[in-house]
Symmetry: none
Subunit: 403 residues, 2 copies
């Protein structure tokens, strides 16, 4: 279970405590009493990890090899079955005027009807041997996937970044004919999207209602979908993922995990933790060997600089742990993917606390779960890439190297 | 700040304390109270680092890639602007008799007039396309740099190691024509140096005064100057270096740091710490972002097996820290580059204590600064290559990897 962004730094107004140190976490502390603790560098000491690169590392993949950019993980996160070699993009639904100028990058922050709009783009024919896959994400966001031979992710963005400009012409970033061809295809998709969308009934209705139509799509962040050995094959465990955000769902998807949807899981501090708790307990009763859980509220509170909310969210998660820690016949690893300190309002490279509960764990004498207390635990200081190896070994499922 | 060779092993006559544990270090201990501690392996656990390879590692470069031998760093340390691809050597001024036999490898431990002697060698013409650069270092030491195409560092030493022998013929160490050519050039330089120096007025004066003349130069330790990304580019910090020895100055020079000269800085236990302190405080007030400090006395005392002197030197440095630790708006890292135990009188691969002071550091409960106490600190055990990543992250100057 990864409490996204939970780690922090000492905060003056808390008497130099961190939010985790200040929070009342009786259940985490109970887990500490029966567990082994340590600190963990998600990638390496001092390296500022993203949530994606950190999860990749903790799941035992090398992020420097697997992480080709955000596009593939976002695409996988909306449920597209991406394949190695696919070129994936994050997109905005935007509004263009008849001169091709972007007048609203977020199409009036459109929230409804995007499924219908996406369906009009999905399957667009640009070249005989290239499949255009398009799907809406949340709000004005969407993903585009190109599938076919002779494509490259070495191309620039179409996003002009500011309103009042036309979409940027996509250009190849290297000398290959694959990049040149992919750039051409992208430019055609952008241009054709306007033709397809401008008179779509839902857009005409939006105009009538005084709302900006979603009449053009603007791709960015090209990334080639990497080959990722399915988690199930890599470890011989049947895996499942309960996550809130598209990014982490994408990691579950791309590593071949089943995904469990939780109603009311917003990825924010207002998320429905009761539903998440029920989802976890229900899933734990199913025929899975490995359950990846990510809750995102502490990270959101960190990014927003909301100290009280971060503490409150940690306490709410702690309350949920009262039931979760009673799941039987299981190893339970509790950690964070990175720190999102209130002071920096972004990720930092500080190590995070980690705790392992389960049979035959060498229980240490740490008494509370915090960034500082865990540093005195029996795990000492480990790296994200060690976690799965340690877990597999505890489960007596690892292979002996040597005689 | 790196206290060269400060680390040590338990010593019986100190009741199994190390010199650092036995020394009275109230200021280091005060820094510990407001800092986070750990132990650090300069390269990897158990690897016996040189001062050069350790500093390279702590500065975030891979010594196995960058370190091509001592020559380049010595040459850079005497202030030569060496360039990637230059072949650099350490040299002795020696004394040869008319039969070409070395009668004194250190030319009567010559201390004065070496600038004039070096000038007579510098610019020597051996081949049209090879520049011969020569500069005196301290005492009987000097450096030689060959600059040009078609050279190699895969050649043997000219140093016969013992008196009563002629200079060793330099031979190529591989089959390349570059190595063969460089060996030829070296042999010519050694031979021609005698011709140029034997009747130099200063040498005639030395003979008249009953001193051995510095009438031949003996090169050894060939190394090709590596390409080193300037520290300022690598980290976006404007760096400066205060060091005593040519070796560490060379590291500052080769990584593109400004060097501050300190009068009376001998690199020994008799060094002028008052001047070093003033130099540090003055430099801290200038427009730099990163200050590398190295004091060498504890290492010298270790190499000489002088227990009391090592303890005394550590105490003197501690006294200086009373002022240095008050430098504001700064992160202060205090550590050693390696251990130089009294018992071994040479470097060992023991981990060394490290301490970080500064804003938002997760202060731990370590109370004194020592090899053993630091091992219980919040940093646990890190490696030299982690130090800059951790510092950059604390300074909020690192780049996020992922989303």
């Amino acid at each position: 279970m990864i409490i996204d962004g939970m780690g922090d730094r000492p905060i003056k107004e808390l008497g130099d405590k961190t939010p985790l140190e200040a929070a009342k976490t009786p259940n985490m502390d109970k887990m500490v009493e029966r567990g082994i603790c340590g600190i963990m560098d998600p990638i390496r000491p001092g390296i500022r990890a993203g949530s994606d690169t950190s999860h990749i590392s903790i799941l035992g993949y090398d992020p420097y090899e697997v992480y080709t950019g955000r596009g593939p993980f976002e695409a996988a996160g909306v449920g597209l079955k991406v394949l190695p070699g696919d070129i994936a993009f994050r997109c905005n639904f935007s509004t263009a005027d008849s001169d091709g100028i972007i007048t609203d990058r977020r199409a009036g922050r459109i929230r409804e009807g995007t499924e219908e709009i996406a369906a009009a783009i999905n399957g667009m024919v640009i070249a005989d041997d290239v499949e255009v896959i398009f799907k809406e994400s949340t709000g004005h966001r969407a993903v585009l996937v190109l599938r076919g031979e002779g494509l490259s992710d070495q191309i620039s963005d179409a996003d002009p970044k500011h309103e009042g400009k036309p979409p940027k012409k996509v250009v190849p970033l290297d000398d290959t004919k694959e990049a040149a061809r992919t750039a051409d295809i992208l430019n055609m998709i952008v241009s054709k999207s306007y033709d397809v969308l401008k008179d779509l009934p839902i857009n005409l209705e939006r105009i009538e209602a005084g709302e900006n139509p979603a009449n053009i799509i603007i791709p960015r962040g090209a990334g080639a979908v990497p080959y990722v050995e399915p988690f199930g094959d890599k470890y011989g465990l049947k895996p499942v993922c309960i996550a809130e955000t598209g990014l982490i769902k994408g990691i579950g998807n791309i590593t071949g995990m089943d995904l469990i949807d939780i109603e009311g899981a917003t990825g924010g501090i207002d998320t429905n933790l009761e539903n998440i708790e029920r989802g976890i307990l229900d899933t734990a009763a199913l025929d899975y060997d490995f359950l990846l859980i990510n809750v995102d509220g502490a990270d959101e509170a960190g990014h927003d600089g909301q100290l009280d909310e971060k503490i409150k969210f940690i306490e709410k998660v702690d309350d949920m742990l009262a039931r979760l820690m009673e799941i039987e016949d299981a190893y339970f690893i509790l950690t964070a993917d990175h720190s999102t300190p209130i002071s920096t309002m972004d990720h930092t490279g500080d190590p995070v606390p980690i705790l392992i509960n389960g049979p035959e764990v060498k229980v240490d004498d740490v008494k509370i779960f915090s960034e500082r207390a865990a540093a005195k635990g029996g795990l000492c200081r480990i790296q994200g890439c060690n976690v799965m190896d340690i877990l597999m070994d505890l489960m007596n499922k690892s292979t002996k190297f040597g005689a």
